[in-house]
């Protein structure tokens, strides 16, 4: 820096020229351009990430600086049935919801890939659950799952007469678990469907023509053309979906807050309950950190499991 200043003394008559030249000096420009983004991410993402891992090894509470206590938090968690319960439900929730989202989302994408009137309108409507704030649609689900005035119960009992009593959606553990999963699937379908639809549209029709000339059935065309061609995008969308389903917070917090009898706690809601609401920052951070191995594993699994092949589409054609 100082060198540039010294050099510019000689031609310092033109002040704007000096600034312009500094801005044209590539390394300086690169630093200037990256500074805001990298700065924000470093202060509010990287630093907290490290701090969180540190907090997990301390007994910090709200308003009191903790001391290093080693693995005590984790030892405590390993003996805590609530934590194990949350681990179980997080995995179960992720597995079932992801399966549901991808099965239904893929189906919807295949349906939307056909030609029919009002296609673009329909595509717009389909994305709506994903656009609207999750908490607000979760409230609508809470109301739909109401023990007394649930519209589903009304349909089953008073209209279709298949049941005698109202469904207890959120009052007992297993129904509550599945109700939450259903809400999560409902919210996740649009994202999966629209991203996969984009992938479907990149598959060249000539492949299908060639297969049809060879006498391939609809199933064979799906199995040997659509599916393999979709693998790369499927891998990416699934990685994202798994990460954000596993760490889901809003749906559970809005609908059940972990109840009944703590049966629907995900790791994220348990971390919030202990860390922020209960004030045990150290323990909450330990629960949050305990998500990391699962996340890394799930990411590696879905990414490398599905994307074994190299990207078929080149980087340029998007």
């Amino acid at each position: 820096m100082s060198v540039t200043t010294l050099n510019s003394r000689g031609v310092a008559i033109r002040q704007p020229g000096y600034i312009a030249r500094l801005l044209d000096y590539k390394p300086f420009l690169i630093v200037m351009c990256l500074a805001p983004a990298i700065g924000l991410l470093a202060v509010f993402l990287t630093y907290p990430l490290g701090l969180g891992i540190w907090l997990a090894f301390t007994d910090t509470t709200i308003g009191q600086k903790g001391i290093f206590i080693g693995l005590e938090n984790f030892q405590y968690l390993l003996k805590d049935p609530l934590w194990w319960n949350a681990v179980f439900y997080s995995i179960f929730y992720t597995a079932v919801a992801t399966f549901g989202k991808f099965a239904l989302g893929f189906w919807l994408a295949l349906l939307l890939n056909n030609h029919f009137p009002l296609k673009s309108l329909l595509r717009a409507i389909v994305l709506l659950p994903w656009i609207v704030p999750t908490v607000l649609s979760a409230l609508a689900f809470w109301w739909i799952y109401d023990p007394q005035f649930s519209i589903i119960s009304y349909l089953l009992v008073d209209v279709l007469h298949v049941r005698d009593s109202n469904v207890d959606f959120l009052g007992t553990p297993w129904p509550a678990r599945f109700s939450l999963i259903a809400a999560n699937i409902w919210r996740g379908i649009p994202f999966v469907a629209i991203s996969l639809l984009a992938g479907l549209q990149t598959i060249s029709p000539s492949l299908y023509e060639a297969a049809m000339l060879d006498g391939a059935t609809a199933w064979q065309r799906f199995r040997y053309i659509t599916f393999p061609m979709m693998m790369p995008i499927l891998a990416i969308v699934m990685t994202f979906s798994i990460i954000f389903t596993f760490t889901d917070f809003q749906l559970v917090y809005a609908i059940t807050r972990g109840g009944p009898v703590n049966s629907t706690h995900l790791l994220a809601t348990l971390a919030f309950q202990r860390g922020i609401a209960g004030g045990e920052l150290g323990e909450g951070a330990a629960i949050a950190v305990s998500m990391i191995p699962f996340l890394v594993f799930a990411t590696l699994f879905s990414y490398f499991g599905l994307a074994r092949r190299k990207w078929q589409q080149g980087e340029a054609n998007d």
Partner: protein, 300 residues
Amino acid sequence: MTDVTASPGSSNVASATPDTMAWDSRARRVMMIYLPLSCFVLILLFPFYWMAITSFKPNAELLNYKEHNPFWISSPTLAHIKHLLFNTAYPTWLKTTMFVAVGSTFLSLFASTLAAYAIERLRFRGSPYVGLGIYLAYLVPPSILFIPLATVIVQFGLFDSPMALILVYPTFLVPFCTWLLIGYFKSIPYELEECALVDGATRLQILGRITLPLAVPGLISAGIFSFTLSWNEFIYALAFIQSGANKTVPVAILTELITGDVYQWGALMAGSLLGSLPVALFYSLFVDYYVSSLTGAVKE
């Protein structure tokens, strides 16, 4: 595929006296496409319908399914919305949310435009790694970060202030926008910039006069997406904001409107409806940008 090619000749004329082939392909098409599609649309839209219809129902109808058909309103009322607007701090919440969403959107657009330009066009040694680093930041979920971030926010003296949210939201907006914009910058021919360089334009002039005007669709996509994501954000807003007036709409509805054991479903649903409307409106104006940014960012 086969039925599509077979149908147009015969199906619409011959429906009265169907010959087997046409009937078969038409019925098949209805069964295989329209029926499941309408089921999907019905299920995906029902919660919104239910939300909307609940917010205009008087309490008497709301809790009495025996005498009133729950799927329709016989005497619609604006009472819930009136209650929401005049007896609660709802307008304040809306204002705060708008402020936070607009603020964080501009901050992240500014940061990510510069970053994307540096990574894609200034090309330096290690620029792919910086890009990858920013991308990895996108994979860090907020649920892991909110506890340590809360202590950071307290350290900075920003606890309970909307400023905290404006500064924190870019952590998930910047990675997304940067990758979206890298994609857009890539699609702008480099020759244009070279021409400008030859004509003696500075780098910043090139960015301001050539690259950015050409990347406007990308900027709009990134902008509306950031706006939607920050409007919808929940966990940070829940953890960092305590006083009623500073809460954002999603948090406020869940924590301030639910009082006691009797849920005021009418008011709750009216609140949800009003809180969803701005993004839904925004969405309906920019549908194509949404779809392109969603798919663009995923593919990148």
